[in-house]
């Protein structure tokens, strides 16, 4: 969205490339679509090879298409590109020591927050109970109030 705004795009996005590959079956076509969404065009700004009509993206799509027809698995295909262009080329970041903050950060925040909330709830609950007792104690004295 925002695509926001950003209006200024001096560097223009290249437009979605539309090309016509033949597949043996729909499943292959579906795999092709997902793979080309998850592989990043190395030359472009932040675009997948499906989104870009840069020459390199086109070559990569052709290679993905060929490899699918050759019967390669999704992992084979992604590995092929990662071994040449590095992890950068895949939009699915690897899980390793270097990326541990990426994967664990939000989870730790969630767990830490949950622990904090539990502590807070216990305190607040104790206070609520104390309030109740206090008001019950007082009630007879306060009469009509």
């Amino acid at each position: 969205m925002l695509r926001i705004v950003l209006l200024l795009m001096l560097s223009m996005p290249a437009f979605a490339a539309i090309d016509v590959y033949q597949f043996d079956n729909e499943q292959q076509e579906q795999r092709f679509r997902i793979l080309s969404e998850e592989l990043r065009c190395p030359k472009c700004q932040n675009q997948s090879i499906a989104d870009s009509d840069a020459g390199i993206a086109q070559d990569m799509r052709t290679r993905v298409h060929t490899m699918i027809l050759e019967g390669k698995s999704d992992e084979d295909i992604v590995d092929y590109f990662v071994s040449r262009y590095g992890d950068f080329v895949s939009y699915r970041p690897p899980v390793n020591a270097g990326t541990s903050i990426l994967w664990l950060g939000p989870i730790l925040l969630l767990l830490g927050g949950a622990v904090l909330i539990v502590i807070l709830l216990r305190n607040a609950s104790r206070k609520a109970a104390a309030d109740d007792e206090a008001s019950q104690d007082k009630e007879p004295e306060e009469g009509t109030k």
Binding site: P42, K43, G55, I56, D59, M60, R84, Y85, G86
Partner: protein, 185 residues
């Protein structure tokens, strides 16, 4: 009321870390990519020559230190770096050319007009060797050792500064420049 708990400064600490991170990112070019192929052999291929009837394979790139320069006539930066390639070639540096996704007559004319710095020119008409090499545009220059392994990849134009800073330190000291290494062709 309880005493000031240190937790209230936690958001500030997080923000300071964030600010340091952002500051470190300023001025860095997020577009620059490392090559995953450094230290690996040149992938196998079998492609025609631009100027002769030969067919080249990965073995053509073995036996001496050399550069592999990816170029094309449609690439403006290649024109810019061309004089420097000629200068390197004149100094005895062996440079192989990889003509990348180009029109062959135009490529021949280009070399005829501007001079040919290349010992041989491999034609990669559909960019498939480029893909195997992890090339994402022209120009790019690879430094290849006598065993046919990629030692360095440089994306963008090759000039005197890049040569001194990135290439020269990696060359064997006893052999002053590629092309004068041990193996003979």
């Amino acid at each position: 009321m309880k005493a000031n708990s240190p937790w209230v400064f936690l958001p500030l600490v997080g923000f300071v870390l964030l600010a340091v991170l952002l500051a470190s990112g300023l001025g860095r070019d997020p577009q620059e990519l490392p090559s995953a192929l450094v230290g690996k052999p040149v992938p196998s291929f079998s492609l025609p020559s631009l100027l002769t009837e030969e067919t080249y394979t990965e073995d053509s790139l073995k036996g001496r230190w050399q550069l592999l320069n990816v170029w094309a006539t449609w690439c403006p930066t290649c024109h810019v770096e061309h004089p420097y390639l000629l200068e390197l070639a004149a100094r005895g540096v062996a440079i192989s050319g990889l003509n990348y996704k180009d029109e062959l007559p135009a490529a021949r004319e280009y070399l005829a007009n501007l001079g040919n710095p290349f010992t041989h020119v491999i034609v990669d008409a559909d960019g498939q060797l480029g893909l195997d090499l992890g090339v994402y545009g022209a120009p790019e220059t690879f430094l290849i050792n006598p065993a046919g392994e990629i030692v360095l990849r440089h994306a963008g134009d090759l000039n005197a500064r890049v040569w001194e800073e990135k290439f020269v330190p990696l060359l064997p000291t006893q052999a002053p420049a590629p092309g004068q290494g041990e193996g003979e062709e």
